[in-house]
Symmetry: C2
Subunit: 352 residues, 2 copies
């Protein structure tokens, strides 16, 4: 038994304290040490105390890999988001992580740059890592991804969307409905001449759904969305600016511009400020997300509030419940709200 230690291959300096060491120090079996450490019920207070003491004294640090191997559970969760540069996802991941930490889980984070193949790649890596659950963004994944995860019995949850399919748990909201609500709001204000600055719709079902919603709402009032009035751009300020510039060079300027998110809207507003175009006097601008700056802009931005932190927390709760086989709370629906602020008003009195 003493031999055990000397045989170690360990190259690391700080000869790690093992359960075996604690057992020796506390004068109990390693089985008892394990039980004591894991708050198992079947341990006498005495043993528990002695083990805890030894652990503190020797500076014991559990070995997660060994634990995972033996228990078949890593207490680890993975998240794959398009990019952390979008504050929305950063906030969501942050909230997810906080919740997981509370529950004793650790989070792997990976980004895929809005690319389904990369997402698949990252997911496979996470599976190799033995994650107990995975958070994904959107419902649009590489073919077979869902089945792959299901076949391996790994709980996962789509976020920022609301899937119709009950087999696919999701924590989010109906992007199309939100876009419709926003468009209807502008329509009710009297706007008839629209411009849209959307996010890149490739591999992005949130962006797709939002454009679809806008189209649908307009169509319902007999207003088609002309090709040149729909500009698709990455979610960056400068792209919002350029898109707005393009939109405003037309002879028949739109009186309302719907942006795929607040970042794009911010860019659009800056362009107006630069050109001296009055908001909302000449053009109404709306965003999506309600990032912290939205309410502070001049004028403050009308947008859809998306509680990214709530999404992250709910995703954590769902995953944790699924992992522990708790009666699965119905995938919580996140409510998003139209926040009307100063960037919108009825269209100016001129023939459109």
């Amino acid at each position: 038994m003493a031999e055990r230690r000397s045989v170690r291959r360990s190259s690391r300096g700080g000869d790690n304290v093992t359960v075996q060491d604690l057992a020796d120090a506390a004068g109990v079996s390693i089985a008892s040490v394990s039980r004591a450490l894991n708050n198992s019920v079947k341990v006498s207070d005495d043993v528990r105390r002695r083990v805890r003491d030894a652990a503190d004294r020797l500076g014991y640090v559990p070995h997660a890999a060994a634990r995972a191997l033996a228990s078949q559970s890593t207490h680890t969760i993975g998240a794959v988001v398009p990019t952390l540069e979008n504050p929305n996802f950063a906030i969501g991941v942050e909230a997810l992580q906080k919740r997981l930490t509370q529950a004793g889980y650790t989070l792997f984070v990976a980004s895929c740059g809005y690319d389904m193949d990369q997402e698949r790649q990252q997911v496979e890596t996470l599976v190799t890592r033995g994650v107990d659950g995975i958070m994904l963004v959107g419902a649009l994944h590489s073919t077979g991804l869902n089945d792959f995860l299901r076949s391996r019995n790994i709980p996962f949850v789509d976020t920022w969307v609301m899937s119709g399919d009950p087999r696919v748990p999701s924590v989010g909201f109906d992007n199309m409905a939100a876009a419709i609500q926003m468009t209807d709001f502008l329509l009710d204000l009297g706007h008839k001449n629209f411009g849209v600055i959307a996010g890149v719709t490739k591999s992005n079902d949130r962006a797709i759904a939002r454009v679809k919603g806008i189209r649908k709402a307009l169509k319902a009032r007999g207003l088609p969305l002309k090709q040149e009035r729909l500009i698709e751009r990455p979610y960056r300020i400068v792209d919002g600016q350029l898109a707005m510039r393009a939109l405003m060079t037309e002879k028949n300027r739109p009186t309302a511009v719907i942006c795929g998110n607040d970042v794009l809207a911010f860019g659009a507003m800056l362009e107006c400020q630069r050109q001296g175009i009055k908001i909302p006097g000449e053009v109404s601008i709306v965003g999506f997300d309600d990032l912290d700056f939205a309410s502070q802009l001049v004028p403050p931005l009308t947008t859809i509030n998306v509680p990214a932190d709530k999404i992250g927390e709910a995703a954590a709760d769902y995953l944790l419940a699924a992992i522990e086989n708790r009666p699965n709370l119905l995938a919580p629906q996140i409510s998003v709200n139209l926040i009307v602020r100063g960037s919108t008003a009825p269209p100016p009195d001129r023939p459109t």
Copy 2:
């Protein structure tokens, strides 16, 4: 041998394919399978091919925990940042992750909310996880953190700072020097009346160093920084606004306001816009970080460019090198630059 499988405790559905299975399928020993899978040189092409085929056919997914346990290396890195809500850190983490993925490493992310105790907690969790390296932000940690990591032989790197101590590897820059440069710039412009909106300095050595730099530069010109001219606030837009409001209510308004970062500066600018205070006509405002919106604001913000992505990449490179015992590249120094834009100008002609 057949017995082995039936004894499994595995509760999971998707009976995972093991090295043993591949060995059976390929008709070789598990040792050979391991070698074939790990690109070991000592394998015949034939064996390699057969193993690879079997792996593909059976859908083999390696088991990281087992691999870690056997090889004493997890191919895992941990990062602890104050918060992902600060775009700077989000960008840094994103870059770190990308680089690590390329190298076959997976990233654990944790945030500590600018709290050293939480940071310590997170680090210990990561150590339990067996991470091969850790990225930290700042050089100010809970007492003994560095020794703890060193004693366990875990490479770590401080970021966003430049440590004097060569025993503490860091990837960053000299915050104080940058602040001095910025202050000198304003001083050279003719400003004598300063206001400072700093980040919360508790547990934040970047914020501390920046304030120190400002103080030092002012002092060198015989200008003290009065208590009421230094406002410390969390890094949020609204805090920048409120702080600016407080600064501008004084009878003797500052002609230059130095902000701890761009977010605070943005808030300060918004407040001026709201009050109709001209920038830079009446007051010059500067930030720190050069976030993407800085160059787009009206007027564009004078600030210090901090390449967060470079920091993340360099941190990854350093950690990887340290882990693989490669001749440690000297901790790379990140160069930050003063970016002069429209938010700064000489002070107005009035007695200050």
